[in-house]
Amino acid sequence: MTLRIVTGGLQTTVQDLGRMGHQGSAIPVGGAMDRIALRIGNLLVGNDESCAALEAALIGPAIGFDATTLLALTGGDLDASVDGVGIPVWHPVVVRAGATLRFGRPRVGCRTYVAVAGGIDVPPVFGSRSTYLRAQFGGYEGRALRAGDAVRVGEPSRQGRAIAQSFAQSIGDAISRPAVARWSIGASLRPRYSEDPIVRLVAGAHTDALTAEARRQLTTAAFRVSASSDRMGYRLEGTELALREPLELLSEAVAFGTVQLPPGGAPIVLMADRQTTGGYPRIGEVASVDLPLIAQLKPADRVRFRFVSLDDAQQMYLDQEQDLAQARIAITLRH
C-alpha cells in the first residue's frame, strides 16, 4: 500500500516517538510534537503506539489512496475531508481505493496526525522513522513530503483489520464513501487544545534566579507565540523576563519542554527537534501532559503558565499512562 502525495502541504513529515539513546552523540530525539495524539492515532487503527504517522502542520497535504485504507486523524483539527465528506478527528475511518484526503483551514490547533493501519514504512535511522529536517535524515528522504512522493505503508495488524471490519467492509473491499466509526477514544485522554491555554510548569534549575517581578510575570503574563516558532522551539514574545544577575552556565542537557531564557529575555520552550544540550538559564519545565497544548499553538496564539509541583506533574503523567493503557485494553477486547 502506498500513499500518493498530491500536494505536500506546508510541512508534512513522517514522525514516530523519536530516537532515544543517542543524545550523548547530540542526536536530537525528534518525533511527534504532540505525542499523545500520535499514540492515540495508532491505537485507533490497531498499530503499535510507536508506529510512524504523518504529522501535518497548519496547511495539510492532499493524499491519494491506492487501496481501501483504515486511518485516523488525531491532534489538531485541520478540517479534513475525503471526497467532499467531512472527517472528524479522533475516530477510525475507512476510505476507499481512489479516494483523496484533503484539508481546509485549521479549526483547532495546528498539527494533525494521519495514522494509517500498518504505519508509515520508511527505513528507521537510529531506531526511529522520524524526520529530522535540520540534518536531513530519517523519515522520507530526510525531508518534508511534496507532490509526487509515494509513501509506503506497512501491513495492517490483525487488530487493524478487525477494527475496520467492525464498522465498514474489510480492508480491500470496494466501498463508495468514507465510513467513520461511531466510537472514539475517551474524552479525558484528548488534550484540551486552546488558542490561549494555561500550561503547567515545574520549577527549572534557574527559576530562583529570576527577579521577583519576572517570577510574577512568568505566571501572570499572556505570552504571544512568535512566527519564528518551529519544531525545534516555541519563541514567546510580549513580556521580557529578567534575571537577578547574569548567569554564566556550562552547557548541559535540556529536555522536551525546557523553558530557556536567552539574554534578550524572551523565553523559548524547547520542543521535539530541540538540541540535546543548551547553555541558557532554564526557568521552568513544561509538565509533560501539557506539552501537546504547546505543540498545537499557532503563531500569535497566547499562552499563560502556572507552576505545579514535580510530584503533581509526575502523577498527572502516570494517570494519563493508566488511562491510555485502559483504552488500549478496551480496543483490544472489542476487536
Binding site: 532515544m20 539513546g21 550523548g24 535511522v125 548541559e252 502523577q315 503523567y317
Partner: protein, 233 residues
Amino acid sequence: MPMHFTPLGDHAVTITLGDSIDEATHRLVRAVSAHLDAHPPGGMVDLVPAFASVAVHYDPARVPGSATASPHHRMVAMLEASLATIRADELPPPRTVEIPVCYGGDLGPDLDDVARQHGLAAEEVVRIHAAGDYLVYMVGFMPGFAYLGGLSDRIATPRRPSPRTAVPAGAVGIGGQQTGVYPMESPGGWNLIGRTPLRIFDIARDEPSLLATGDRVRFRPVTLDEYRASGAP
C-alpha cells in the same frame, strides 16, 4: 564523590558533578556515564554527559519501586545507591583520534587573519594548533559536534563579528578558547583555519559520531593533494 541531583522536568534528572570545565570534573562525568551505561537504572531511556554533569532521561511510568514515593525520588534513590561506590580512577583508557587537516588556502580562509591577530606567521598557527593535545569534554550543540578543550592561549581567537551562513562539514575552526570541527554544514561564527576529509558525523555508520566524550584528539597537517586523495570534495 560530591553529587547533586536536580529535576530536569518530569522525565529527567541532572546529576551535577562540578561547576567548571576541568579534567578532574570531566573524569567524574566519564566515570558516572560509564557506570550508568553499563548498569542502567530501571526506566532510564537516555544518558547525556556534559562539561560538569550527566543527565538521565527516564520514563516515570517505568521506574521501579513503591508508588508511595514519586518516580523522581525513586530514580534519585536508585542513582545514589548505584553511584555510591564508583571511583573516577578506574576509567578505561581514553581513545586517541587523529584528525588530518589541510590548513589554510580555500579550505581555511581565516588562517591568515588569525595569524595576523596574534602577530604570528600562518605556519606558526598551524604548528601550535597541530601540536595541541585536545580532550573531548562533551558532544552537543549539533549531531556529532565535540567541544574540545586544550587550545593554546597563543592562538585563541574571538569569534568572527558576523557569522557565516554556511560553514561546510569538516571545517576546522577556532572560536574563543575552543577549537573544533563542524560535523555538518551549518551557520557558524568560528574562524576557519582548515578542513578535514574525515566524516565527523555520518548516519551510515553504526556509531555516527566520530568523536565521543573522553576521547583525546590530535590534528595532523596534510597537504592539499593528500586531502584530495582521501576522497574529500
